[in-house]
């Protein structure tokens, strides 16, 4: 393995909770407040996953107080404590940007039903 590949891989997290597009995921973000560190959770629907290796990010969308909020989370950042898969979604595309234009029930992703 050459040097630059080794550099790209050295800060990768060994294990990432598997989740897919359309899933509802809770991400624990480490926040430093007044010298103290605490963990803040953000729950949202995975609408996009881009990049590879150390640059991989995931876009989470949720409706907060009637307002659409999106957060782009760098998966391998040391500030991200972990992911929790809350609900599996059933979707047919890789990018759910269409959710931005929808309201109410249409803005929801159907839950995956396992038979």
């Amino acid at each position: 393995m050459n040097t630059i590949e080794a550099l790209r891989q050295e800060n990768l997290k060994p294990e990432i909770t598997p989740f897919a597009i359309g899933d509802t995921v809770q991400v624990d973000v480490r926040i430093v407040e007044g010298g103290k560190e605490r963990i803040q959770a953000f729950t949202g629907t995975v609408i996009a996953r881009t990049g590879s290796g150390i640059a991989e990010t995931v876009t989470l969308r949720r409706i907060s107080h009637g307002q659409g909020v999106e957060r782009i989370i760098p998966i391998h950042s040391p500030r991200i404590a972990g992911f929790k898969r809350i609900r599996e979604g059933s979707v047919r595309r890789a990018k759910l940007y269409y959710l931005r234009g929808e309201v109410g029930n249409a803005a929801r992703v159907k839950e995956k039903r396992l038979h």
């Binding site: 040097t3 150390i54 950042s77």
Partner: protein, 211 residues
């Protein structure tokens, strides 16, 4: 004190700082750079250090150059590249020393010189970001230069007018790049941001002029 090294661009990646901030970095393999000769104010009229980098076959090197390498003991393994780095005082190194990444420290600022990627003969849209014309409605003016000046009043085209021509393949220096990490055992410098040239390109890393 000024200092400098010869290096090779390895490519770009990201790193995270302790606070979790993602920083884009370029990895540069600097050295080992053997000191071949020293230039002093008294003897040469200027202060510099002559450095080597890489290795090539001795049979491909002229005897004049091999003679120059003799004091450093590099006749069997002549460096592929020999460059001088200007210093602001007489060099403190000795001939035969090997300089590496530990010459620089983290958070220091450096200037990086390299040869940019050649783009060949480029038009004004690519070379100077001209807007160009519209693609439809029957016009023939799409990517052309347009007017290059006035009429008989100046009677000539102003100097440095932006026109088509060779783009890239010139030496460029990017100033004041922060050194994020130094890895002495791999002779690796990680500097913040981009540097000129392709991956594998030769670069000079010098102390920043403006910091």
């Amino acid at each position: 004190m000024k200092k400098g090294l010869i290096g090779k661009k390895l490519g770009m990646t990201h790193i995270y700082t302790e606070t979790g901030v993602m920083v884009p970095v370029t990895a540069i393999e600097v050295g080992p750079c053997p000191v071949i000769a020293l230039k002093t104010q008294a003897k040469d009229g200027y202060c510099a250090v002559q450095l080597g980098f890489g290795v090539r076959k001795a049979k491909n090197v002229s005897k004049a150059v091999l003679g120059n390498l003799a004091p450093a003991g590099l006749q069997a393994t002549p460096p592929a590249i020999i460059r001088e780095v200007r210093l602001d005082a007489d060099p403190e190194y000795k001939v035969g020393d090997k300089l590496g990444a530990d010459l620089f420290a983290a958070n220091e600022f450096v200037d990086v010189t390299g040869r940019t990627k050649g783009r060949g003969f480029a038009g004004v849209v690519r070379r100077w970001n001209f807007g160009g014309g519209r693609g439809s409605h029957g016009g023939a003016w799409e990517r052309r230069t347009g007017s290059i000046g006035m009429c008989s009043a100046p009677g000539k085209v102003e100097k440095r007018r932006k026109m088509p021509g060779q783009m890239g393949n010139v030496n460029r220096t990017v100033q004041s790049l922060q050194v994020m990490q130094v890895r002495a055992e791999q002779n690796l410098l990680l500097v913040k941001g981009a540097i000129p040239g392709p991956t594998g390109g030769l670069v000079m890393v010098r102390s920043a002029v403006k910091k």
